[in-house]
């Protein structure tokens, strides 16, 4: 398994952590990483807004995928007018999120957004599985060594030696 790099973006779209673990991606300048973080923050928000909206009358009858064949239709009766806001998402049980995983020919980008809006971007090999395990561990280490660090200022760049050390150590142990 190959983890290329990790990026952490704060809730305002600022880059607060960037680290490369294994070569594979092209190196960018610090400025480019800042631009990338800001761009991704915006794109992430847009990907949530372009979620396809399905008219509620056809989709509310089924809890799963609203295929048109599963709908008990009443032919002849005109559909009652619904307010303009009557729509549902394809997976009604889950709230709409932004981009979660992006695949390219050379890498896979997995994005995990915490409840507070911090985004963790993990760049891995496209063939690699179990990314959520890695992501969970990264979040755990972040909680333990960044958030519990009394000298860390929220939303500011992460400069915690213990976080660096444990992250590198854990990833090395897995490969």
């Amino acid at each position: 398994m190959t983890v290329f790099s990790l990026i952490i973006i704060n809730k305002a779209g600022g880059l607060i952590y960037q680290r490369e673990f294994q070569p594979g991606l092209r190196k960018l300048s610090t400025n480019d990483y800042l631009v990338l973080a800001g761009t991704f923050h915006g794109v992430h928000a847009i990907t949530r807004t372009i979620t396809p909206k399905l008219p509620l009358a056809t989709a509310s009858t089924t809890a799963t995928t609203p295929t048109s064949s599963t709908i008990p239709s009443t032919p002849g009766t005109p559909t009652p007018p619904t307010p303009a806001s009557a729509f549902t998402f394809p997976n009604p049980g889950i709230p709409a999120t932004g981009l979660e995983s992006l695949e390219t020919d050379k890498f896979r980008l997995t994005c995990f957004q915490t409840l507070t809006g911090t985004k963790f971007l993990l760049f891995t090999d496209p063939m690699m599985g179990n990314i959520d395990v890695v992501m969970k561990k990264v979040y755990e280490l972040y909680s333990d060594y960044v958030m519990k660090n009394p000298f860390y200022q929220l939303e500011m760049p992460v400069r915690c030696e213990a976080f660096d050390r444990h992250l590198a150590g854990w990833l090395r142990g897995r490969t």
């Binding site: 092209r26 794109v43 008219p55 032919p75 992006l102």
Partner: protein
Amino acid sequence: MVVYSFYIFDRHAECIYKRRWVPRPPSIIGKSSRPTSESSSTPNALPPVLGQSARTTDDDAKLIFGTVFSLRNMVRKLGGEDDSFVTYRTSQYKLHYYETPTNIKFVMLTDIKSPSMRIALQQIYINLYVEYVVKNPLSPVEHPGGVGVNNELFEESLEQFVTRVLS
């Protein structure tokens, strides 16, 4: 699998074709066997919802172009000039992307359970777009406002491709 929408963007960043498939009751589908793009709001479909969606489809196309353009540039920066992004997934949908060497961009939104659609988009380009749009002697070289793309043959074969091959 379910296909929600399909877009073509030309090299001037203009949306030259867009098509949405809104799941509808079977009674309506049987009646309009060949729905035309964007005018598929049959009288007994939901007028307010479709009215709202008709207003935002242009905006949606622009947002989608902005998204794929930004992501494509990001991916090229990180993975090198020959890298291209194939698909991304959110909790609700999956977006598939294919770009031809002439910078025509094909975008398709499907449900998250669908497999990779790169081959399908490539087939749409090769078998439908090239055959019915590029080889059409009456079609202009550029397609401002979608002129030449929204011809009957292309629409019909796209409809068939999506309903028969992909589902």
